[in-house]
Amino acid sequence: MNCQEVMELMQRYVDGDLDEQETSLMMDHTGQCPDCAAMLVRLQKLSSELEQLPRVVPKFSIVDSIMPELERLHIEATDEGQETSGSRDASPAPIRSNRPSRHLFGKVAGTVAAGVIAGLLLFGHPDQWLLSGSKGSNDASAPSLAAAPAKNESSSLMSKRSSELDMSDQSGGTGETGSASNADSGNSIAGAMGIAPEANPSSVERPTLTTGDESKISGFTVASEQAESPDGKWSAVAGEEAQTFKIVKIEDGSVIYSSQPLEGTIGSLEWNDTSTILYYTVTDAQGNQTNWQFDLAASKESKR
């Protein structure tokens, strides 16, 4: 058995694909061939590192973000069914069809409403549109919102609930870099999301550029106030206006801890090597920074 053949066995070995006989063949060879033995070690290490890659999760609900589009598709499909009154099971209409405006008034109203929402968000966050080069969290969700009312007739039947959901998505993506001018609408959206609405507006005036830089450093999840534990199990996420934080179990997205609102802005989220303690800083309105830590096992926040 030559090294080339053993390479294939080793590859299948790391996938758990070898039977006993093949395993002992491979082991016999690696026992005598230091090169193959070293290769086997490297492959196993690589494979276990690949297995441990973080199970990244989207920073907002993607389904919520496409709800208006799904709603529109649904209505189109229903209309279609009525018009052709024969084929009930017809597959939904093509996404970008130009339908005659049978419910013109309603559609116009819907478009106007969506436009107003888009406008509020657009003008409420002028800084983000200028700083969109950083591939930060802010520009992530916004274009889809702006595009939705423009490219298609928004449905008049779009339920209030789904548009609210849509808005809270947007704030989920953009809130952390919200500007002071947006404080009011930001807070009402935060309220809708169940996050403490009594956020102190002055804390909102964090320089956007800084958070942009942070988002690059934090790596995978890009959101500026988010840190994944080294073992890939937990994600610490600073909430709306960065006055609260949550610990999310990455595996299933469940929130295992939500902090009380803190007297300042949370930043520099960082885990210890063993993923048991989260370190973070709290900066108050005067710019004084204190160091804190959160013990995962004890579920306890303390100064350090």
Partner: protein, 182 residues
Amino acid sequence: MVEPALIKAAQAGDREALVTLLREIENQVYRTAYYLLNNEQDALDASQDALIRIYTKIGSYEEKAQFRTWVQRIVTNICIDKFRRKKSSVSIEEHEMVFEAGDNVETEVLSAYAAEEIREAIGKLPEHHRTVVVLRYLQDFSYNEIADSLNLPLNTVKSYLFRARQQLQILLQDYQKGGVRG
């Protein structure tokens, strides 16, 4: 795992079931898109497209295939399209992409995650090798499930995966030798 009953209900026109189903799979869809496209924004866009496509095509899913391999086929196709379009529109060669990654040396140095190195190395693999690796490790797919998702012969899947691991191993060794990470 998505309940067969939920899939059935969604196929029968139960819209609420269909939306519930989409919620159950959105994380797995995003995870693949994220590791294939190596960029959060692109991954969000691709995931939106994939979920909309699943919404409109749910009727065409047939039970003889596993639901999750069907879902992954949709998302990988969208990502590969996106990837090709991006590549041709900017017309950058493979070796220049390596270069581009080098521009972020500053952020790389600051990052303590070995996982980030691996993610970047995955990003340098040819698209089919990358896809196989992502399905194997981020979706925990077997050789057969990967073959079903990508519509490839089993042997091709294996040879892609084996070559991908060899390449990754070399790329990651280079990193360590380069000492960029200190």
